[in-house]
Amino acid sequence: MVKGVQFRSHRVVGDILELAERYCHEGADELVFYDITASPDNRSVDRSWVSKVASVLDIPFCVAGGIRTIGDAEDVLNKGADKISINTPALSRPELVTELARRFGSQCVVVGIDSREEKGEYRVHQFTGDVQKTRTTSRTTGDWVSEVQDRGAGEIVLNCMNQDGVRQGYDIEQLRGIRRLCTVPLIASGGAGEMQHFAEVFEKASVDGALAASVFHSAEIPIARLKQYLVDRRISIRPQG
């Protein structure tokens, strides 16, 4: 179970650390830190916070946003992040996925994909951090998943944009389709509103993880209770604490 911590880079480090420790303590299995302004503004994240987060967390965490070069990735990993996640830069230059996997190993390289259904087809979206700049690419989601996997991506986070923010459950149908062609870990993102949604996505789409932000952030779904619920449903998951 993955907790997304989304922030704009001006957010003070103290806030990020406090959230990180809280989610870690509550039993989250992994954290993803998104600097959602990084790609649209064509600049990188301020990374001093990465080492601070790494020193307090005893669960894995991933940094997303603003990683465009091997040097960017090296900086983040050296500061103690376990994985780096790339989205827009991979679409702009797919070779980046290959280069990162070769240099750091597939296990560090996560590709985030923003996918939306249009006219019966799932397509990849780019620059989703900024409503003004968001655009549809020519790629179908399935083709892009296969390509990044061939290039050495070690994990795919599929953000189903039709579901995002509406809390009607994960996009089971899309995730099942992607699962069939995905032999690396697949993480579902977008749509979680109730505990049942988590059980459904594990049972029906066989994903390896489920990511949520707002329901954890608001404490609407306490992580400990969710974990007990999933354990009771016989879903293989690390029990709380």
Binding site: C24, D29, S51, A54, S55, L57, D58, I59, P60, E74, L77, N78, K79, G80, A81, D82, F104, G105, S106, Q107, C108, G154, E155, R179, R180, L181, C182, T183, V184, P185, L186, S206, D208, G209, S236, I237, R238, P239, G241
Partner: protein, 203 residues
């Protein structure tokens, strides 16, 4: 004061190991210096990345025979575990040859993706001070594509796959050489227990 040397094998992500030791109130030094390694009370061989690359770095640093000759407790983590064995199928790499065995690639299907990445329940197979305080079935965080088969040196195991699960070694002990396939530094309280046992419980 226990001195801990973390061998600099050139991989990324060594910071998280030093931070984990720090949370247990232990200082460590990241080094490729022969005498620092030989005189340390505990030696950790971490590793993220590819086996061939890591072995050639150890070779260039003149550390292959140094590691083979260590007599204090040594802990290999993840790739560092695989390096302690004879060989790895990853680019058909000759490893340090300290513990008998060959690391093989995990089979990938859409039911059991590779890399094996995430929290896996781990079975305790034989008693050892490294396992003190752990419960059978406890969860550790794994992040790997190659693994060691189960042998007489195996202390704990995990399975990969649903239909026809493959059981592999999660923890191994061979004389003073100990090895973990998972990342204790990222495995919450259970991981901290393993590190603490390594620092205080084994001799």
């Amino acid at each position: 004061m226990t001195s801990i040397a973390i061998i600099d094998s050139g991989g990324a992500n060594i910071a998280s190991l030093a931070f984990a030791l720090k949370r247990l109130k232990f200082d460590s030094v990241l080094t490729s210096d022969r005498s620092t390694i030989e005189s340390a009370d505990r030696v950790i061989l971490p590793g993220v990345g590819a086996a061939k690359n890591a072995m050639s770095r150890l070779d260039r640093a003149g550390l292959v025979d140094v590691i083979r000759g260590l007599t204090q407790p040594v802990l290999g983590i993840c790739l560092g575990m695989q390096l302690l064995f004879d060989r790895s199928d990853e680019e058909d790499t000759e490893c340090l040859g300290i513990i008998p065995g060959i690391a093989g690639k995990l089979p990938a299907t859409s039911e059991s993706p590779v890399p094996n990445m995430g929290w896996c329940a781990t079975r305790l197979r034989q008693p050892h001070p490294l396992l003190d305080g752990l419960e059978d079935g406890c969860f550790f965080y794994y992040l790997h594509s190659y693994a060691l088969p189960v042998s007489e040196y195996t202390l704990a195991t995990t399975t990969h796959g649903v239909e026809d699960p493959l059981e592999f070694s999660s923890l191994v002990a061979y004389e003073n050489f100990l090895a973990a396939q998972f990342h204790p530094e990222r495995s919450s309280a259970a991981g901290a227990t393993v590190l603490r046992n390594f620092l205080l419980g084994v001799t």
